[in-house]
Symmetry: C2
Subunit: 439 residues, 2 copies
């Protein structure tokens, strides 16, 4: 009994949270999004062209807890929630560290990552609003995959604009989205005015996330029955992802784990926010002194190198201005396998937490994160997504710091996704052709 | 509570079985393996060149229950056992069937399939025997992946001979095995005398499972510290896989599910045997009248078209003669994506059960199984491995038969693995270039 409990702490299906947690209620003052035309706080109407009303309500909500509709909960259970909290006993042994290392298994979703948590909620509320089609962009493909599958569950069509470079380099990601029933266009595409304009000017472009966002928004703005869906950055996405952290708190109670350091990778911020915010709320109330560490790529180090200022969420300047750590709207990160970490900014809520000194951040090079991923695969059996390798690397480093100091810290990190569709990156690492790509 | 319980029945980590179940104890008379030289029953010594003693003991055991060593149990937990039993509520709704459809989630193993259950046990017993290297062959790659990872857990080196055609067509499978620390050779290789001979005679060959088995056996036979590991067919593999069925029985008790039809795909037979045998033992004792259905490919229909006779387990005629349903040792199945179902024979225990009228069998074409796989992905969220698509297709067909008759059968099938590394097959299905390949 004792051994089994120490390897993995499960929650029963009924353990899926009944309410989301909203850090906005506890974090104190935040600078609001601004309408770039008037430079005044954005109104709900500023979002109505592309989002449905309930999503806009959640985006602006200051309530601490918001009920999760029963149909969303059932679907979360269906897609493998609650996710286990597992102990990396073999990795600890390999590192000879006095620290204990735990990891939250978001990789066990059949969608491959944590992205389904918000995709499900967004598809549900859009379906309830009578929306018949959702549009979105995808780079690495995790987000597009999640939205493709869940749209189908609620009888919504899903159109994904996939950055042309990824579309060509990752054809299996495209196939996965199509298997789930989505329509996938390489972006820039001939489906939108903006796409056609870009194609005319740059017929050979491999595209960018900024262009893909613009195409998805244009398609949504043209038809009141079509909405746009975003996989990170905004408050409502952080809210939906809070199921990760709420479950983790419950599991740590069962396992009598008092966490010293909670670690997650951060690109747009939804994985880190979902994992950290519920316990961060407790920290604000003085109930824990746990460290919360966001781990980013040196190829896009918004928290560790960027400035805290108002900036656009997209490259084209389509969105309201958001107060966040940013490298600038025109910053184009170098190519790395962790496509989910290639974002110029950081979620306003994560940025506010950083600015208030509530969280810490580290940035790593690509090679050292893959080295950590391979070590993890060989000791623990799971191949982490390139993004998750950043959290693995940080957890290993903290554990090795404990080895020096003799501290028996409890380190808990989020395994945000698996690497089954990112094995080309592992191939490059193993055959020695991988390069670092720092700023 | 009621809804959640109806979606998924979990067992706690302690629910991993403590004993394996051995159908040999209950099935009655079976024809023994024969030494092809003497045509007399094979003795344990006939296996000693390539297997360790404990594996040979289990291969010949007639005990009903064999204890699972604690270290193997801990590792089963670590690799996500017990596996959930889930209800396919959305698929039922889509089919408008009165039947209930349940599926066992072997796809949730980080190794991608059920193959880890026996890989773990084999690596453990070989490590206990002082073996420093395991060799094996792999075609589709599921088995090689499982053995690669678990060898690492017990500090054993692992050498995989991968059929050259797969090695070249599925480079990511090779990368996954290398990520787990295995040495992978394209077979035929220059590593063995047999490989060199084949290469000299047929320099452009894409290889075959038979050649790869011969190379793995040759390497094991040459060194007493090297053993060979087999992923299916033999009794000890069926034994180790019985954890699937033992857990499923426990979960059906919890869910008050009285199964009418238990379905699994069958290539060599380990997935079907592991899933069905524990309850089949109850059927032999008259405690259930459940139907047990093995589902094979029309490209290799050993149970539905083959003869019940003595035949070699491999193409080259290296192994003892096994009494089984077979298409002949030289039968080469046409190319299908379900590489795990491309085997000329069927496990002697599965064959005996078939010959005694204890189980039924169906065979399907490739296209109709992928059609079922896509339907499952769109309704339930998981992309099945091409092998598992055969079980999905049979479950759908039984459910549609129920729709005609009005019977509310309980259908339980085994989702033996996921299709994340088989998306090229889905791509071919979706773009219309897939062809059937019946005998």
């Amino acid at each position: 009994m004792a051994i089994a409990k120490d390897i993995r702490i499960d929650l029963p299906p009924e353990g899926v949270p009944k309410k989301w947690y909203n850090l906005v209620a506890d974090i104190g003052h935040m600078e609001p999004p601004l309408n770039p035309g008037t430079m005044k706080p954005a109104s709900p109407e500023d979002f109505e062209a592309i989002f449905c009303k309930e999503i806009i309500r959640q985006e602006g909500s200051t309530e601490r807890h918001i009920n999760i509709p029963e149909e969303v909960r059932d679907n979360l259970i269906h897609l493998n929630r609650p996710a286990p909290l597992q102990r990396a006993v073999r990795l600890e042994k390999y590192l000879k560290t006095p620290a204990k290392i735990y990891f939250k298994r978001e990789d066990m979703s059949p969608l491959g990552s944590h992205k389904g948590n918000t995709a499900l909620a967004q598809a549900y509320f859009n379906a309830e609003s009578g929306i018949h089609t959702l549009t979105t962009e995808t780079g690495a493909g995790q987000w597009g995959t999640a939205l493709a599958m869940v749209s189908n569950l609620f009888d919504i069509d899903c159109t994904v604009f996939m950055v042309r470079g990824s579309y060509e380099q990752k054809p299996m990601r495209k196939t996965l989205m199509q298997t789930y029933g989505a329509t996938v266009h390489a972006s820039p595409s001939a489906q939108t005015e903006f796409g056609k304009k870009v194609l005319k000017e740059h017929p050979d472009t491999t595209g960018s996330l900024g262009i893909a966002i613009s195409e998805a928004c244009e398609m949504a703005a043209k038809d009141p029955n079509i909405c746009y869906s975003l996989g990170s950055v905004l408050n409502h996405v952080m809210l939906h992802q809070s199921v990760i952290g709420i479950e983790t708190i419950e599991q740590m109670k069962i396992g009598e784990i008092d966490p010293d350091c909670m670690i997650a990778c951060a690109g747009g911020g939804s994985n880190f926010g979902g994992f950290a915010f519920p316990l961060l709320g407790e920290k604000i109330k003085g109930k824990t002194d746990c460290e919360f560490m966001a781990v980013e790529s040196k190829a896009a180090p918004s928290l560790t190198v960027g400035e805290f200022k108002y900036d656009f969420g997209d490259t084209a300047g389509f969105t309201p201005l958001l107060m966040m750590y940013t490298l600038g709207q025109e910053f184009i990160p170098k190519g790395i396998h962790a496509g989910g970490l290639r974002y110029h900014g950081m979620a306003p809520l994560v940025s506010a937490a950083m600015n208030k000194g509530l969280i810490t951040a580290r940035a790593y090079e690509q090679l050292e994160t893959f080295e950590a991923g391979v070590m993890f695969a060989r000791t623990e059996g799971m191949v982490p997504a390139p993004e998750s390798c950043h959290a693995v690397k940080a957890a290993i480093d903290v554990a090795l710091e404990c080895k020096k100091t003799g501290e028996a810290k409890n380190i808990v990190f989020c395994m945000s996704g698996h690497g089954m569709l990112d094995l080309y990156g592992y191939e490059q690492y193993l055959n020695g052709t991988m390069r670092d790509s720092s700023v």
